[in-house]
């Protein structure tokens, strides 16, 4: 039993060795011009999923990247959009909430906080547009 397990382990290690050889030994950092030329003539080997992903990037990001000289994060811009939507929604929820049991001071406090948050948001938007 031990021998069989040993053999299985040895064979699995050999497959790992071939895997490492393919990605670390046979795929070097620098190749000759001829090898590079050949490499670029071969299919990219990308999966359909990857091909779809890269075509969804479009081309505008390259222009933006060149203009800003830094990477454009599509993900990040989506996050900001989602955050703003959530904030709007939470304000709306507060306004729609039955607050008849709150006294004048509480109303003033809420209004003050709301104004502070809106001002902060305006400042942040202004900073972002100045920064871009």
């Amino acid at each position: 039993m031990t021998n069989t397990n040993d053999n299985v382990n040895k064979d699995e290690r050999a497959l790992e060795a071939l895997l490492a050889a393919a990605f670390r030994l046979d795929f070097p950092e620098e190749i000759s011009d001829e090898q590079a030329e050949k490499f670029f003539q071969q299919p990219s080997g990308l999966s359909q999923e990857d091909k779809e992903a890269i075509s969804s990037w479009g081309t505008d990001f390259i222009e933006d990247m060149l203009k800003n000289q830094k990477p454009i994060s599509k993900d990040h811009s989506q996050d900001i959009h989602v955050d703003k939507e959530l904030e709007k929604e939470s304000f709306a929820m507060n306004r729609n909430k039955d607050d008849s049991d709150l006294d004048d001071e509480a109303h003033r406090e809420i209004e003050k906080k709301r104004k502070e948050i809106l001002d902060e948001e305006k400042d942040r938007d202004k900073d972002q547009s100045n920064g871009s």
């Binding site: 050999a14 497959l15 790992e16 071939l18």
Partner: protein
Amino acid sequence: MADTTDDLETLETINIYLIGDKEEIGKGITLIDACFREKIVGIIRKKALSANEHDLLDIYQDVMLSILKCATKNLYNPDVQKLEGFIYTVAYRRAAQWVRDKCRIKEKYSIDQLIESTQQIICDSKYDEPWQAAQLEEKRALILANIRRLVSGLKPRQRQVGEIIIEHFPDLLSTPDIKEQILQRYGEDVSTVAVKRAIQEVLNKVKESLRISGYGDFIDD
């Protein structure tokens, strides 16, 4: 790319742009994106196996900005290096840097040590015979290219596991070690069964590469 007159003209145009002023370099970068995006991501994918769609975009932009920087600083000379070789090296290095940052491990072994470990481990297994035969028949490169193609087309979890095994080789990682690595690197707590299954899928692709390269008879029980 350069197998038609049009392709050669495109390469020439990109080269002219890359040695030009700021505006021309920008045009060169745009043209590289239009002509080589898939090839460049193909190089990135083979090095950064675990990269997701957003990571690929980040690395890709890193590559384009590196090309921009090299061209702006006159570090690219088309008389010394061909465009394809230059792009390949930049793409490889940026992807390798991403993997190093992700793994937070330093290269422990020299290339010679890696070659020696690889040979020793294969020699001690049932794969020694097909491997020796492949070398005699000059099919070594074909097998390894097939491994890269099949493994880089695996599902995200399987690619994560493949990358961990590759980057740590020749260190032996157990299933719990790989599970821990996934947790540390990606913050994902995966079940042991799922990790085992992913390891098996990766290794099956290596076997499949031997089979489709004509060495199935040696390995099928």
